[in-house]
Amino acid sequence: MTTPDNWRPTASLQALRERAQLYTAIRQFFAERDVLEVDTPVLSHGTVTDVFIDGFSTNFAYSDSGHNETLYLQTSPEFALKRLLASYQTSIYQLSKVFRHEGFGRLHNPEFTMLEWYRVGLDHHALMDEISDLLKALIGAQQTERMTYQQAFQKHLNLDPLSDSTQRIAQVFNDCKIDLSDEYPIDHDGMLQLLFSYEIEPRIGQHYPCFIYDYPASQSSLAKINSDDPRVADRFELYFKGTELANGFHELQDAAEQRKRFEHDNRLRRTFRFEEKPLDERFLGALEAGIPACAGVAMGIDRILMLKHGYTHIEQVLAFPVTRA
């Protein structure tokens, strides 16, 4: 990527204006709904244990502890926002940069802009309603669709992701002729995720943004387990035109359960030979003190910009993507 021109931005002046306008529209939307904009640290002692999310880290040599400390760039402001929720019990949002130690691609830059918000007293379905309102305001989407994770697999692959055996999933996987390199380790959830990416994502949300909800409990992350069907979690994702736009939860409030999930993540990390991550005790402390019943969601704003204005590569909406940063 080293060319004499690589000091130049990859986004046009028009795209920079479009980003500024989008930020204004987002702030106006939340101001009208009395959701408070907050600012939490980008650099933190805590990080996530998610098996397939890695944060950048750096060494802090000036700690008041006298020891060198590892600080992580946030992969999402979730833990900090929940600490605010535990203290102030009020709906909040943050519009900021997040960082993930990942590759660069058409839809990916390791540094990107995330809009994350928490609504006290709402469940994930009420939050999906609010997201629909936001999409109408931001990208003019006149409606949205909803489908459960199970319905999506049944409709497009004739597979039940909640009750079919791993063997049956493997059979459908082979029928779809997904050819993995020998080094690709794949398990039950890994196969479901690849089937979703290859076979379902291109077929949903083509006309209107589509929410997929009731994810398998094994992919619950920080969501509550559903009170009627313990096989699923109160988690949703949002897809539009083949692009993943958002991930949301009816938030888990149980500190002990959250700790168990973190420890489970670390066990999985070991099986993949990934580094284990320290648990964010400040976040767990906030859960122990108690966060209000709430729903929250994180949305990729660079992708919203791409969809709104018809850009095909993320670098068209970034002043300087990582290749030129």
């Binding site: 998610d50 397939f52 999310i53 990942e102 590759g103 660069f104 691609g105 058409r106 839809l107 990916h108 997904i178 050819d179 993995l180 390199s181 080094e183 690709y184 380790p185 890994g190 995720q193 690849l194 979703f196 990416s197 290859y198 992919q219 992350s221 994702e237 993943e244 991930n247």
Partner: protein
Amino acid sequence: MANFSTNEFKAGLKIMLDGEPCNILENEYVKPGKGQAFNRVKIRKLISGKVLEKTFRSGESVEGADVMDTELAYLYTDGEFYHFMNNETFEQIAADEKAVGENVKWLVENDVCTITLWNGAPITVSPPNFVELEITETDPGLKGDTAGTGGKPATLSTGAVVRVPLFVQTGEVIKVDTRTGEYVSRVQK
């Protein structure tokens, strides 16, 4: 040959797969928010010509293929090998029937072809996009016909058969698009 990480994948990169040199046609980095990262890659196998899709774990390394394209002029065939020459160094290379394949019907003496070499040996021979060949046999056409009405088959000096307009006659030289095998125009001798 060096190894390439999936991070270096891009269209045109040559890698080894199942013991065969391949050309990457498309590479997409895929990373569901909470899921595993992978590279979904469309590949053309350079010997068999087969196009296939493969999924790599992101960060994985694969062996590069020592593949290069070179521009060489076609000289002649001795019946077994097809001989080509570098017009600048006068170095000659012989390609076998397998490397030439179907393109044998587009080989015209002194035309510059693209020869793909793997570890220095020719694996494919691509003719120029347009070649000029003489018609050795075609039915006499109907009078008054103009190009564009179905046409008729014509056999060329190399054995290639293309559809030509009815007014084109045996003994004439025509220009053919080798990528589609279609007649382009007559050539004034």
